[in-house]
Amino acid sequence: MSAPQASIALSVTGIEKSFGPTRALAGADLTVAAGEIVALMGANGAGKSTLVKIISGSYWPDAGTMTLGGKAVSFASPREAKAAGIATVHQATDQAGAAGLTVAENLTLDELCGTGPLFVSGRSIRRRARAIAGLIDLDLPMDRDFLDLRPAERQLVAIARAVAAKASVLILDEPTSSLSTAEAERLFALLKRLRAQGMAILYISHRLGDLAAIADRAVVLRGGRIVGAFPRPIDFPAAVAAMIGRPLEAAAHGGEPSTAPIIAALRNVQLIPGAVRFDLDLRSGEVVAITGTLGSGKSRLLRVLFGLDTPHAGTVTLDGKPWHSDGPGRSIAKGVFMVAEDRWQSSLLPPETPGASIAGTIALPHLPRWFPAGIIDATRERLVATDAIRRLGIKARNADATLDQLSGGNQQKVVLARWQAEPCRLLLLDEPFQGVDVGAREDLIAAIRGSQGGSATVIATSDTEEALEVADRILVMRDHTLISADGSEGSLAAAIGGAASASPRKLEP
């Protein structure tokens, strides 16, 4: 391990943690020095989030020790970890804030729940919230209910809170999973500033581009243990190989403009009042990626295609016929599937609910087709799920495991598996690879491409790297309109280059 020149801020040794029969951590060691950004890498289910939760006091380790600034510590609660100077952004955005409270209240949640001033008013909270939001140039309506925020905005709120905590150790568990390039880059600039101020930062991400941009050092977690450390300059191919146990093949798609039959077509569509109109054809067998900054309207376009929203103007056709849906039920019956952007809100059931298992989660939208008589045959569900577990490498005990026992990336894989369980006409994926490791992403993309029989796939992603990897065609969205929506237009690189204000990052090998 590279000897950090500065003093060691955080060090953990021999951390073990099991969940029933599952061994999440099997003696993990890690150090982070002050003024250093350490990238923690690992495949889905490697134990990264578990380690983070132990360091930040929400889990109690089965074994192992921890020192902070040289002193031995152990935390019985997140409160203690916070008090000791550890700030954390957790992976799950459903735990980023409390519904029913306003954005301002959520921005100041740590102070409210910790040791902030006793007397508060709407005004004092808003003032403080604005200061916190200012740290990351966040501009959100302060009085809106947190519940009404989009996932990316929630994630930003959580980041702002952690940054504002003025901690000595900052832990970020996939903070950019739903952020676009521009937001991510602003975050990196901030992290670099904090590093310069001597903060120790532990950064977890499956976006290699992110890590390349900021990490001083990478450590790889596998099977609950650290299996590799890579000092700067980081050898990412080697790190990925250590992480997933095989080298990653560079994927390349695109090329010939498709002439296959059109499945869905948008004509003169205006998403919201005042936006520029655009056209879009989606052809059989093609994978189209839509990228763009936060709030540019990607999700809205997908919701329009799914039939959940109606466009302000223009027409949508599906297989040549005018397309409008009276709800997801009809859309699904018509073969239009959508993976919504927030897996917690859109797909996950509480563990005690029947059907919260992997099998049940995959089966839910397909119940009417699979069991027209109404009576559920559990073996059929389990069969599909077991196949998905094998195919996508989902790390789980079996098909009956509930999703709360899975790591974030594995949850996402289950959600994707749900929509691959049946053939469709139009598959709409909104930020589908959030938290999915690079190896699994490859498998998923292969699966999507493999099942490309007679269907079109649209992927909305804020990560250009991802878009490049998966798509035949990349479109850029800005201000609720498509730029270069012509499919026939030259190369992919040109499409990106000519579009957004944010410059695309290069794919690290």
Binding site: G327, P328, A340, P368, I375, A396, R397, D443
Partner: protein, 339 residues
């Protein structure tokens, strides 16, 4: 990508705790039966056991309705007053409107379904929170059911508010519903309870409809995005609950033989209690039909036994509460899930 299958070394102790948790209420029920049998041999004769089942049948039926609304993420506070209104409606139909047993039966079930529909619309269409909507309905019905008779109980030959005398009477066929026995041994209400329980259990645990009810209760947005017509389901849950409550009311009416103002006072709390106790049965930690019925039987056995042992009424409440706390501590306290 390795899928590490479960390591086989699951510690035995936690398995025992889990089994204990699953069957805690069954064991407790068994112990109670044995205890009462020992203290009072008459307790265990089949007539008495059927008496217990008969006594709990109405609460169990209402509880099933409550647990279905609960599983769909709602809560029906109006079941008690729907049942009470059903008693009044059935009596009014026969005594004042002079309908026969069958028409009365259908009419009252329809009224129950209609009230459920009203609840559902208030919740789904207008957007009133479940508790609030059904609470309003509860108050509304508590008053409404008394208006046709000016607050009086309904009996054959009663004087109506307009001064005339009611001409009808309870149809003897109607009384069979609550008072006759199958094969001269199983009271009809027990049969009805069993039928309702089996159908509801099958619906909720074995069909995709049940799945969707639970999915809606677990995460309505997710269920909606997965294609479920969530509003229709929630509406259905309240209609089922209203209909079951009126069925319970019909049984009461046929047992009581008159439209009694005070009938059904404690039904709401007992039905809610039954479905809440059901949470602990089989360690499901959620509303479910089997648990609800068992919860109702559990309380019924307790009360019957204590009455036989001549315990004063207030110790019955006390023991009911104490046994509940004990059973819950056992189920939920034994090796609860770790953080």
């Amino acid at each position: 990508m390795t899928t590490d299958t479960s390591q086989k070394s699951a510690p035995r102790a936690s398995n025992i705790a889990e089994t204990a948790r699953r069957y805690a209420l069954f064991v407790l029920l068994g112990l109670m039966l044995l205890g009462f049998w020992w203290a009072q041999p008459a307790f265990i004769n089949s007539a008495n056991l059927f008496s217990i089942l008969q006594a709990v049948s109405v609460v169990a039926i209402l509880g099933v309705g409550v647990s279905i609304t609960m599983s769909a993420g709602g809560f029906d506070l109006s079941v008690g007053s729907v049942a009470a209104s059903a008693v009044m409606a059935a009596s009014y139909a026969m005594v004042v409107l002079q309908l026969d047993a069958v028409s009365t039966f259908i009419l009252v079930l329809a009224i129950g379904a209609l009230i459920g529909l009203a609840n559902g619309l208030l919740i789904v269409k207008v957007g009133v929170p479940d508790l609030l909507a059904t609470l309003s309905t509860m108050f509304l019905l508590a008053g409404l059911q008394l208006i046709p008779t000016g607050g009086r109980s309904i009996t054959a030959g009663m004087v109506l508010p307009d001064g005339s005398t009611a001409k009808g009477a309870y149809d003897p066929a109607f009384l069979l519903l609550g008072r006759s026995r199958l094969f001269d041994i199983v009271p009809l209400p027990v049969v009805i309870m069993a039928v309702v329980a089996v159908i509801a259990w099958f619906l909720m645990e074995r069909t995709r409809f049940g799945r969707v009810f639970y999915a809606i209760g677990g995460n309505e947005t997710a269920a909606h995005l997965a294609g479920a017509p969530t509003k229709a389901y929630r509406l259905a849950a309240y209609i089922i609950s209203g209909t079951l409550a009126s069925l319970g009311g019909l049984i009461i009416a046929s047992r009581v033989g008159r439209g009694d103002v005070s009938a059904g006072n404690s039904l709401l709390l007992d039905a809610v209690a039954a479905s809440l106790i059901g949470f602990a049965v089989l360690d499901k930690r959620r509303p479910h039909v089997l648990g609800t019925v068992l919860g109702a039987i559990f309380v019924g056995v307790l009360l019957n036994g204590l009455t036989m042992l001549n315990a004063p009424y207030y110790t019955q409440d006390f023991v009911k509460g104490a046994v509940l706390v004990g059973a819950l501590a056992l189920t939920f306290g034994l090796g609860k899930r770790k953080r």
